[in-house]
Assembly symmetry: C2
Homo-oligomer: 102 residues x 2
């Protein structure tokens, strides 16, 4: 790989992933579709407001999808899109590094 | 891998890596030891003050090493430690994802 010059795609990718809470949310969603409260349960320090904001951002970026099930009461779940699921090797690499070096 | 609960080591790892500029600096240093100005050359938008701050943080975390060569004028280079070099799979995974999806 050529590390001798910066790559704009890398810059954008790390900007997305490095944003506070985003890397945690993606890890949670690798476990499968989750409701708002289920995401919160794994990241309790994140406020509802910020979680709502991040969900919207990640939907816009096509990293997560919002599924609405017309039950009573309505059930809403969030899941990783194909683009989001493709982040699994990144999340795994961070996990493995963390386990060894943190 | 178990995604059903958050892992504190993962949290710390992504906090380190996700901090603004850090992920770019590590990518630059994967190219080999670099002087201050050589790091800046690949990340021109980062101020000298912030680069100095980040270098100190990453030295403290044992991610980078500072080498001083007693030449005239003194030459100072920064390079990844073993812990820092171990981040290469993470950087590569981000790069590959970026190339495909950004």
């Amino acid at each position: 790989m050529d590390y001798s010059q910066m790559c704009p795609k890398y810059e954008l990718a790390i900007e997305l992933l490095g944003k506070k809470w985003t890397g945690l949310m993606i890890r949670v969603l690798l476990d499968g579709p989750k409701r708002f409260k289920e995401i919160k349960a794994q990241i309790p320090e994140m406020s509802d407001r910020i979680l709502t904001e991040r969900i919207k951002e990640l939907e816009k970026l096509d990293v997560i999808k919002r599924n609405v099930y017309p039950e009573k009461p309505v059930r809403i779940e969030y899941e990783l899109s194909e683009k989001g699921k493709a982040l699994e090797p990144v999340i795994k690499a961070i996990q493995f590094w963390g386990e060894k070096w943190v």
